[in-house]
Amino acid sequence: MTKVESLYKKRSDGRKFDELRPITAQVGVVPSADGSAMYQSGKTRAVAVVRGPRLLHPKHMENPQRGILRVTYQMMSFSVWDRIKPGNSRRGQEISKVSEWALNEVVNLDAFPNSVVDVIIQIPQADAGTRVAGLNAAAMALAQAGVPMSEMVCAVAVGKMDRTLVVDVDKEEEDFHEGEGPTDVPICMTSRSNKIALLQLDGKISVPELRELVKMAREGCKKINEIQIKALREPGKEIKG
């Protein structure tokens, strides 16, 4: 990374700019599910459950060619300071959809016509980066459930505070409003083919900066993938990284 003048000089939790928050991952946290996993990055925690392949309701959604993937993402009411009204929200529905598209990139349900694989993601505690934590948990849950996948996905939110590029943005950073302010870029990547399966951005950023951020996200995702694999090898065990 090249040195630039920036008002964001130091991360409040002491991390290096390209450092992920401490990670905890655990596979098999919801015994009644076909697959389940917890992924925690700093204070942000996601629990994901996979149910299926199973019969699809409503029936008109059925696809006779292949099974469908259905993702439901939700934040718990008490996961943030300002209580979220329980139930569906517009934000939740959008995140569910972009997460579904990301996971669809690696999931292959050709062998399960007319059925559905449900992925349910809950966020009990949030400190930014909940959709990427949810995707990391969901990928592990799908793998544990034995749903056919061509590769894993891993996700991280990279960003820019004033002109400083950072990996794994936390809430305090999302709220950094000096200089050019915050730019938040959640990215989900496929683990082998290195494709970008989810990409969102809000803020202001130059092309070279974005190019650099994507590179940084790729490095972060590699580390996340190592932890996912460790957790999958030892279901029930908390893996730290």
């Binding site: 919801v30 015994p31 009644s32 599910a33 204070k43 629990v47 459950v49 149910r51 199973r54 309701h57 259905r70 439901t72 939700q74 718990m76 009411s77 008490f78 996961s79 943030v80 300071w81 209580r83 329980p86 139930g87 569906n88 449900d118 349910i120 809950q122 009990p124 505690q125 949030a126």
Partner: protein, 270 residues
């Protein structure tokens, strides 16, 4: 879940001999474990597990105008989600009637017990009171979500602290005070759900027992000088309670109350 007829017969046969599939006695609970503070953004929060059944509960405080019939009293709102996360049979989307019923039974159990000192939740008479928002989520269903959810409600309440409130700006800050919610320990009541399976009564039902039971009776119990005091009740499912069954249930309550109350008290207050 659906239980095949043969399995149902076998469960009932076993229960007649006082045996259950998982080796427990009819009145025996599974292991209960609790983890508090699962969200640092909640005023109080916890996970409660009974066996493999798990629920999360959290308390968020907000400020509202009081109801006309209680200008000096705080209020309580309880929601409960039985979502697709917890069980293959739970749907995505709109709340199931089971969730609404469970939330309302828990609401009544907390409300009627008098565990919350409502007047201490008054900020300005007739204008501003605290509302306790208690939200419960089923994480894994392996039977007896009812008692697990009610217990999680108590644990979340007992751990809750007021947030910092700037009265001038009328704003709740994003941090907590050291002041706990005004709870009256002695008034605590806990929920005990009894299922009638065959001609036997079981506590802490498994999924299968819940499914095949004739009816359930949820009873909120408080301690009145060592004796049980009933603060809320709900008979669930279509079956009806005969005169002799009611007597058996009440005996069961009397004989199990002390030990259960001790256990719950320890879990909730430490």
């Amino acid at each position: 879940m659906s239980v095949p007829g043969l399995q149902k017969e076998r469960i009932i046969e076993y229960l007649k001999q006082g045996k259950r599939f998982d080796g427990r006695k009819t009145e025996e609970f599974r292991n209960i474990s609790v983890q508090t503070n699962i969200s640092e953004c909640a005023e109080g929060s916890c996970s409660v597990k009974i066996g493999k059944t798990e629920v999360y509960a959290g308390v968020k405080m907000s400020i509202i105008a009081p109801y006309a019939d209680g200008p000096d009293e705080g209020t309580l709102s309880v929601t409960l989600e039985l979502g697709a996360m917890a069980d293959n049979d739970f749907d995505l989307g709109a709340p199931r009637i089971e969730a609404i019923e469970m939330a309302r039974v828990i609401d009544r159990g907390v409300r009627e017990s008098g565990i919350i000192d409502w007047e201490k939740l008054c900020i300005k008479s007739g204008e501003k009171v605290w509302q306790v928002n208690l939200d419960i989520y089923a994480i894994n269903n392996d039977g007896n979500l009812f008692d697990a959810a009610a217990l999680a409600a108590l644990v979340a309440l007992s751990n809750a602290k007021f947030p910092v409130y700037d009265i001038e700006a009328n704003k709740i800050e994003h941090k907590l005070t050291d002041t706990k919610l005004p709870l009256v320990k002695e008034n605590m009541s806990f929920n005990l759900t009894i299922h009638k399976v065959g001609d036997q009564f079981v506590l802490d039902p498994s999924l299968e027992e819940e499914e095949i039971s004739d009816y359930r009776l949820s009873i909120a119990l408080a301690d009145n000088k060592g004796e049980p005091r009933i603060t809320a009740m709900q008979k669930g499912k279509p079956g009806a309670i005969s005169e002799s069954d009611m007597e058996k249930i009440l005996n069961l309550v009397e004989s199990n109350f002390k030990e259960l109350n001790k256990k719950v008290t320890k879990i909730v207050w430490g």
